[in-house]
């Protein structure tokens, strides 16, 4: 087994751990961390599985850089929303029963 394939398999494992945590954990901070673990797993697969005959390929590395920027923006937005929910509900988790009203003048 080559080192590159090992990276790719580790990436898949990280992705699976991230997905499980994203679904199972109730705390929003843990969910956001789980998304980041999942993202790192995908990046590892991209870099590891993308190598041609052991030589690092620059194209997936450029894609990972772009992916990191996207993940950073998504994490920032998620943290801002979680912070807002903490202010509104007093806890960092999604309410069990969704009560949605079309507020006219909030």
């Amino acid at each position: 087994m080559s080192a590159a394939l090992l990276y790719a398999l580790a990436g898949v494992a990280l992705f699976v751990i991230g997905v499980a945590a994203l679904i199972l954990q109730a705390h929003l901070l843990r969910k956001i961390l789980a998304f980041n673990v999942m993202g790192s797993g995908v990046f590892l697969v991209l870099v590891g599985f993308g190598q041609r005959s052991g030589v690092p390929d620059p194209v997936p590395q450029a894609m990972v850089l772009t992916g990191i920027v996207v993940a950073l923006a998504a994490t920032a937005l998620a943290l801002a929303l979680a912070r807002r929910l903490l202010d509104l509900n007093g806890e960092m988790r999604l309410p069990e029963e969704e009560i949605v009203r079309d507020r006219l003048d909030v």
Partner: protein, 480 residues
């Protein structure tokens, strides 16, 4: 020569940024001007596609594989026309709507501009990684729009939507990583020529991951849990944009992947399975719509049901004769357009009724028939398409799908479509019946400005007339 293709992305980016610089709540006039130009650009481009066939533009002179190619064919052109055509009347509507709800419009215009830029870029992208980036841009802007009103309900709906959509894009990106690992390319045309019936297991896994991620983003049953609170709780112009356009963007990608990229490895079993989920969406979404007490939640669940019809396209085009495939394909794309127009009209009309009565419940709209006849008429016209009655665009779409199901002997989809049509009639008439009841003494009807009523009417009328002008649209679809 002037090329409208890149400007469909640059123009909304420009006006969105200018609107952001102008400050909270500003930029409506800019947006309307920008969107009017975008409609003209889309029309020009459609003309070029009909006469000259599909187009490819290497941005900055760098072609694939190093550069990013923009490409447009019949399908993406139909989506581009739909997007600009729905967004322009909604911009007029939103200007008027937010004049009465000052608090919740703070960053509506910049976010809408970025949303439209991301969506146009998605339709024009020709490589799977660039599509991932546009998908994320689209989701982030959409989540921001859902969170606009700022209360506990909208913010938790936005959070739920964000987590679901991030999971969907991560699965998609893992699929892209696997594809790059196997073929060393992300360009759609290059990949399409490489994927064969003997593709390795990793490619099937990539296909499954990408399609599942996109189904989550399209809110296909049973992944629809995030849609009703997000679409039902947002301000009316946002609900209209999200339900009419945003979920169609990920559905467009499913079509691209299924028919262009993974065509050699799709199986009848997988198609039937996805069709089964679509059937579940039609029935479950309609039943839940029938049980709602809030007007906009009913419309949101109706979206869940109508998304189901879109997915019936896959079993009707996989493993069937060329004739059946062609008819189902046209029906599916018509359904995308008809639902886009009708659902935008329905949410706009619902928002107008809620603004006039000040109440969100269906019970609160008693008397709308006498006080807001135009708005109720728009809602009813849009419902004709949702129910699939002639001569609407929804009728033409469902007729083509029914014909394809009959011709290929898949009678079970006919049962689903007929049952879905009856159920949708039931939930639509629940609203209409209430509207014709005498005015509740407790309701204080506000007089609505004209711009809160006419855009919904125009959109509903367009969805109805689509049934009569469907051949024009299909001509554009087949231009490539």
């Amino acid at each position: 020569m002037f090329d409208p293709l890149p400007w469909l992305i640059l123009l909304p980016l420009t006006w969105a940024t200018l609107a952001f610089v102008q400050g909270p709540g500003r930029g409506g006039r800019l947006a309307v001007a920008g969107l009017a130009l975008q409609v003209a650009l889309a029309a020009t481009l459609a003309q070029q596609i009909v006469t000259g066939g599909e187009r490819v533009l290497a941005v900055g002179g760098w072609g694939a594989p190093l550069g990013i190619d923009l490409a447009v064919d019949g399908l993406s052109m139909v989506m581009l026309v739909l997007t600009q055509g729905v967004a322009l009347p909604l911009a007029f509507y939103a200007r008027c709507y937010f004049a009465g709800h000052a608090g919740s419009q703070r960053y509506f215009w910049p976010l809408t501009g970025y949303l439209l830029a991301a969506m146009n870029a998605l339709f024009l992208s020709a490589d799977v990684f660039n599509i991932y980036v546009t998908l994320e841009l689209l989701s982030l802007a959409a989540v921001g729009l859902v969170a606009l009103p700022g209360g506990a309900g909208p913010v938790s709906a936005a959070m739920r939507y964000l987590l679901a959509t991030l999971l969907g894009s991560a699965a998609y990106l893992l699929g892209v990583a696997l594809l790059y690992g196997v073929y060393g390319s992300v360009s759609l045309p290059a990949l399409a020529s490489l994927v064969g019936a003997d593709a390795p297991l990793a490619v099937s896994l990539a296909a499954a991951l990408m399609l599942l991620g996109l189904m989550l983003k399209t809110a296909l049953f049973p992944f629809h849990f995030w849609l009703p609170p997000a679409h039902g709780g947002a301000p009316a112009p946002v609900s209209a944009l999200l339900s009419a356009l945003v979920i169609k963007a990920s559905f467009y990608l499913i079509l691209r992947l299924w028919f262009d990229l993974f065509a050699p490895i799709t199986s009848v079993l997988a198609a039937q399975l996805v069709g089964g989920l679509g059937a579940g969406a039609v029935l479950w979404g309609s039943l839940l719509a029938l049980r709602q007490t809030q007007l906009k939640m009913l419309v949101a669940y109706s979206t869940v049901a109508q998304v189901g019809y879109l997915f019936l396209l896959l079993p009707l085009t996989t493993g069937t004769t060329a004739e059946v495939t062609a008819s189902a394909w046209q029906g599916g794309v018509l359904q995308v357009v008809a639902h886009g127009l009708a659902k935008a009209a329905m949410f706009a009309a619902a928002g107008a009724m809620i603004t006039a009565t000040g109440r969100n419940e269906i019970a609160g709209i008693a008397g709308v028939a006498t006080r807001l006849p135009l708005t109720l008429f728009s809602f009813a016209l849009a419902s004709v398409t949702i129910m699939g009655l002639p001569p609407s665009g929804g009728f033409a779409a469902k007729w083509l799908l029914l014909g394809a199901a009959l011709a290929s002997g898949q009678w079970w989809w006919i049962v689903v479509m007929v049952a879905g049509g009856l159920l949708s009639a039931a939930y639509v008439f629940k609203v209409l019946r209430q509207a014709f009841l005498p005015v509740d003494a407790a309701t204080d009807f506000k007089v609505l400005p004209r711009m809160l009523e006419w855009p919904a009417f125009l959109l509903a009328l367009a969805s109805l007339l689509l049934g009569l002008t469907a051949s024009e649209l299909l001509h554009l679809l087949d231009a490539a």
